[in-house]
């Protein structure tokens, strides 16, 4: 995966008359070492944690580059943070469900949903180009039994906590 990704980056970089650099390679390498969604600060922390030196400016610039290269997608998780999703390369069509109990994000896809969206769009006289669906939901298990495995996992792993809507 990692090699594939770097290759794709370098293809894009070459095609645009840009240059291959250490920072870009390292940033890409760190991003795709996990499938987790992340914010700029998340990424910045991961970089520092691995002793990789790259300024915030470079991180911002590289993220913009990756979005242009369609290797990364900005998603809206319902909070005020710009979040990046590295999973669209493997999975070009997917949606997000955000648990309002623990904040955990579940990716899912469904062909019926895609078909229906396309139909509705066509009926309105358009051709669908891109789609963004986010479902905010609460955990049935938590409601039923008073405990939610995701909630517990979230606490243990210090994942993104419940979205603070500012």
């Amino acid at each position: 995966m990692n090699e594939l990704v770097k290759e794709r980056l370098n293809e894009y970089v070459a095609s645009q008359g840009l240059r291959q650099t250490n920072q870009r390679n390292e940033i890409v390498s760190v991003i795709y070492s996990e499938t987790e969604h992340f914010t700029v600060e998340d990424l910045f922390d991961r970089l520092r944690g691995q002793g990789i030196k790259a300024s915030r400016a470079t991180v911002y610039r590289t993220l913009k580059l990756l979005v242009e290269a369609e290797m990364l997608v900005e998603i809206d998780l319902g909070d005020d943070l710009t979040t990046y999703d590295p999973n669209f390369m493997e999975n070009p069509v997917h949606n997000h469900l955000v648990c309002i109990d623990c904040g955990k994000v579940t990716e899912f896809e469904d062909s019926h949903l895609e078909t229906l969206n396309d139909c509705l769009t066509r009926r309105l006289g358009f051709r669908a180009v891109k789609k963004s669906l986010r479902i905010e939901a609460c955990c049935e298990k938590l409601r039923a039994s008073g405990s939610c495995p995701n909630l517990i996992a979230a606490r243990l792993n210090k994942k993104r906590l419940p979205n603070r809507k500012k």
Copy 2:
């Protein structure tokens, strides 16, 4: 409509131990005089255009209040602007289609879509609470005939122009 809306605001304000003020009433009145989506600056301009005096701070504070009162919903149109939709009071369930040719936003709803979303959510072990769907699409008429009525209307009316994704 206008009276209904003011009434609802005042109900909420009263229920929270807050106070009825001129600024709030005027802002609400201006917002619901149209069904158009708007940004803070749009609203601020409309206020000034009608000679209504309210500081930006008050406008921001009132918008926050209206969102809390569930009279207004923040929506994501795919640009970097916080946009407000005043139509959820009349139409609690609807989605947005954004034309990438002219930027025009079309609201639509479909019961099948809602059902499918709920099914998918339940299958994942959650109960849907809230949903946000945005389709970006291009106009078939423009592709076919080279002209798009919305595009023309957009130019004539100086509506929101094509989204600059910065």
